[in-house]
Symmetry: C2
Subunit: 281 residues, 2 copies
């Protein structure tokens, strides 16, 4: 646990493969699991998913909005899920997509990345709309605490294309400029040869050429939604991510969670086997 | 309370002036107020600010991060502050800057904009990095519940400039494209002659020409941070916002909150008088 976040992810992906199990207790899934649509249902859903993922997958990703929906009691449920996941040795990415400036951003970073905080995770997703520089306090905190960040760079939803492919005065797309700015911070913070701890969210269905993306250095974890129900299959991973494939954390939620509580462990094993054939085959 | 959000804001600004009192219980302010740096301190800070603002200002804006910092007990404190502010007849903007896609975004919108939700506010700030279209579920919910949204468009921090001034294939800056896309939704949702309920965050120190902004229609509330400590003064309002000046909600936090609990009411009255001279003089 003392390694820097980027290196911990690298080791976990090597040991267990790229699958990240999303923890998304939305109304439809709670209903199909026979759980109540409230904080207690979300808590139970999260704890059962953690139990099934422990020892089977490297990483889990609780989706904060589905807990926040229930207010403070939902956030208390999330705290229990985060603690259980970390105690089980899973790497926990809080998918919160927070983004703000100055002391406001610092407070978000402190909430999710401070050891001993009730919402402590291993990493949190963040939004760069206010500029990568606005996240500098979060980068600094993550560096100090051995935690990670995942910066939204190129998302897989079609509504995002116009904005994320707009270009700055240097001719870079928004997505590629975000990656360049964050990579410069990884370069500065990471010992040579190690992975950066400041990762990216890049959808598995994103066309890198159209999005203006190229392979980047130093390597850093790529959290890739878009596998599973959203359309990308494990066997697409190398074609999609090319020389960056080893950095990919393949995030799936519904495709696995729809197996229900009884089928969940088997679904995780089956899906991870498909990924391992691609990445470790 | 039955009017649509845009019209409620319009009436409130006419009745009381543009001042919006931020509720930002960060460490330094809690300390200077003699309050503990924990959820109880943040709750007390928020409730006292609500008491001072009630009857003096139209609008308050709790900054969610400073409550989230303390986890679920901080969010419970925020729930108390939101409820007290709404009970006092203040318009409450939850400054959460949430942004996601699909059912995830819907859950955020439901958390903040559903009547009876523990986190119910009158409006919430949202982030368009994943595309204005990704917020459509939130627009629809706000329309159904008579609530409002404030979409980040052009923020006042210098780190944001490169991204927010990138241009799309139609030659629009990111900021102006966001305003155009949201305005089209206001056009569709708002009866002729009424203000839209989908507002914007545009910093008071933003240069509209440099940011590619022009006056927009239909009118909609503009939440403008950047007054007070950040550099803009009440007398700058008309020069900064031109023909859109009547839409401006002038948000101040530290400049007012640093008066301390004993001086808060007087600070609000004094500051609002300065604004009223400009907008109602």
């Amino acid at each position: 646990m003392s390694a820097r976040f980027g290196e911990r992810v690298r080791a976990a992906l090597l040991a267990r493969g790229p699958l990240c199990v999303g923890i998304d207790p939305h109304a439809g899934l709670l209903d199909s699991w026979g759980l109540s649509y409230d904080a207690a249902g979300a808590r139970e859903f999260g704890l059962r998913t953690v139990d099934a993922a422990a020892g089977r997958a490297a990483i889990v990703k609780p989706q904060v909005s589905f807990f926040e929906r229930f207010g403070s009691v939902g956030i208390a449920a999330l705290e229990d899920v985060l603690a259980a996941a970390r105690a089980a040795g899973l790497i926990v990415i809080a998918d919160a997509k927070r983004g703000d400036i100055g002391s406001t951003m610092d407070a978000y970073a402190a909430a999710w990345l401070t050891p001993g905080s009730p919402l402590e995770a291993d990493a949190v997703t963040v939004n760069p709309f206010l500029g990568v520089g606005a996240l500098d306090g979060a980068f600094a905190l993550a560096e100090r605490t051995g935690k990670g960040l995942f910066v939204l760079a190129a998302t897989s939803n079609p509504e995002a294309e116009v904005l994320q492919r707009s270009s700055n005065e240097r001719g870079e797309t928004v997505s590629s400029a975000v990656i360049a700015e964050v990579s410069a911070r990884n370069e500065q913070a990471s010992p040579t040869g190690e992975w950066g701890s400041f990762g990216f969210v890049i959808g598995a269905t994103v066309d890198w050429t159209d999005a203006g993306l190229t392979a980047f250095a130093p390597p850093a974890p790529i959290l890739a939604p878009g596998f599973g129900v959203q359309g990308a299959a494990p066997e697409d991973l190398r074609a999609r991510f090319g020389t960056m494939s080893d950095c990919v954390i393949a995030s799936e939620s519904r495709s696995i969670l729809m197996a229900g509580p009884a089928g969940l462990a088997a679904a995780i094993d089956a899906r991870n086997a498909q990924y391992l054939e691609v990445t470790h085959g």
